[in-house]
């Protein structure tokens, strides 16, 4: 028998792993809620450009006269920003930890890899989403990047952009990435907060993650395609 003569690995410091995972999960669930509200807002454009602009205006005047203008909007923005920083920081810390846990890689490759492709794309896919979020804000919020000119009306901005094919393509690709991230993300978040404690529960969680991801992707893609094919002008 081989006895233990190997040197002990260096002890690791930092927040507990499950705590980091929980930060990723809780901020992730917060994003899902945000994204659902965002999608509801986008779909207002099907009712009409006035409804859409009014919705955008309401976001700025929400809570008035009790709250000053844009206060709700800024609270939401700051919460989201803090969550994005926490989500990315915690998931990247876990990525680094995983790398340190196996510094020598396997020479043999599995013939069948069981992990699903979308589950393996969480880290790179997540970073791609981060790049998209930055682009998206520069595009529609600050209008630093314009597809087809700048407009004061939010509905005009959206419609002018999505009459351009490459903008539709870009947003479609981004939504596919979002859908992939959520397909595994919702499942993972439920695992991490401890909801999956039986085989039946696992099935229910799978169902919810597939349903929610599909609803979100389809819901976000309806306006761009409706505009591109001329149903909304």
């Amino acid at each position: 028998m081989a006895t233990s003569t190997a040197p002990a690995p260096a002890a690791r410091k930092g927040p507990p792993t499950i705590l980091l995972k929980t930060v990723v999960a809780v901020t992730g669930v917060f994003f899902v809620l945000f994204v659902l509200v965002h999608m509801y807002g986008n779909l207002q454009i099907l009712i009409g450009t006035e409804a859409f602009d009014e919705y955008a205006h309401h976001l700025r005047t929400f809570g008035e006269p009790m709250l000053p203008e844009k206060s709700f909007l800024w609270v939401a923005r700051i919460l989201l920003l803090v969550s994005v920083v926490a989500h990315v920081w915690a998931s990247m810390s876990l990525w680094r930890r995983a790398g340190q846990a196996r510094r020598t890689r396997y020479a043999g490759k599995k013939k069948v890899s069981y992990g699903r492709f979308y589950a393996k794309a969480m880290r790179w896919g997540g970073l791609a989403l981060l790049a998209f979020v930055v682009f998206h804000i520069l595009h529609f919020t600050t209008q630093t990047i314009t597809v087809d000119g700048a407009y004061p009306s939010p509905a005009e901005r959206v419609i002018s952009s999505f009459e351009v094919w490459w903008a539709v393509l870009l947003y479609t690709v981004a939504m596919v990435f979002l859908g992939m991230h959520l397909l595994h993300g919702i499942w993972g978040a439920a695992m991490t907060v401890g909801l999956n404690t039986s085989l039946k529960r696992a099935e229910q969680i799978r169902f919810v993650s597939i349903a929610l991801s599909t609803i979100i992707v389809v819901g976000f893609l309806i306006p761009p395609f409706a505009i591109f094919f001329g149903f909304i002008e």
């Binding site: 792993t17 930890r97 043999g108 992990g115 439920a190 404690t197």
Partner: protein
């Protein structure tokens, strides 16, 4: 059958190690994977070479001592332990790549043997119950609901082989910990130490340098005992109930 082998050889913990090629003729399909390695070692000894070091004990799939990564899969292509794998699972002329469990908390001692005392330290930190010794209590003194007993038994099947860590892309030991936490946590005897158990075991897990679970499920598919992924969620649930380690 004839096979070609690529085996990880490493003289000791400090050695860099390398893959070495071997060929074996006339291997019986009915021999076990470890018997195939025994055959190789006999030939190496005949030639005056150092035999390949690998671990095994019961060779019945119950002790958890054996375990190597075969063509990238922990315990090889079947859902069983390496000792219960047979050469009929391979084809004549196959190339078989054999490596040790790869995880920094499982340092290689020699060739295919790794040091799994990090698992022992995790168990010592909380994977037990405290019971008074003396005469055994009556079997029906503490009733346990059937479903709880079944789940405890399912989780208790873990033999501590470490395949879950070897298969995990993050080298996480959460399936192993989850099975211990579920096994003891489903039973009345496990309740008094339930919070302390999950906190101490996970703290030790982190200290040893294992990675964090990303809920992929590679562990559960490699596990020779088929421990389901939901024991990890149970571990997380117990950790949450214990206050995320923030409470004393």
């Amino acid at each position: 059958m004839r096979i070609s082998l690529k085996i990880w050889r490493q003289d000791g913990p400090a050695d860099d190690g390398r893959m070495v090629d071997y060929r074996l003729e006339e291997v019986s399909e009915d021999s076990s994977f470890l018997e195939m390695l025994d055959l190789l070692n006999e030939q190496l000894i005949d030639k005056g070479e150092e035999p390949v070091a690998f671990d095994s004990d019961c060779r019945e799939g119950i002790c958890g001592m054996c375990g190597v990564v075969i063509n990238g899969e922990a315990h090889g292509p079947e859902r069983t332990t390496t000792c219960q794998l047979h050469m009929r699972s391979f084809d004549d002329g196959d190339e078989i790549i054999i490596e040790p469990w790869r995880a920094d908390p499982f340092p290689v001692i020699k060739d295919l043997c790794v040091d799994r005392s990090s698992f022992d330290r995790i168990i010592q930190s909380g994977g037990f119950i405290s019971a008074n010794t003396g005469s055994a209590p009556d079997a029906h003194a503490t009733p346990v609901p059937k479903e709880d007993a079944d789940r405890a038994f399912m989780a208790a099947e873990c033999i501590g082989c470490g395949a879950c860590v070897a298969a995990c892309p993050n080298a996480s030991a959460m399936l192993f910990m989850g099975s211990k936490v579920t096994h003891l946590g489903e039973l009345p005897q496990g309740q008094p130490e339930r919070e302390a158990r999950v906190l101490q075991m996970t703290a030790q897990h982190d200290l040893e340098g294992f990675g964090g679970c990303t809920n992929l499920g590679e562990c559960s598919r490699a596990c020779p005992k088929g421990i389901p992924l939901n024991v990890i969620s149970q571990l997380n649930a117990d950790y949450r109930r214990a206050g995320y380690g923030g409470r004393d």
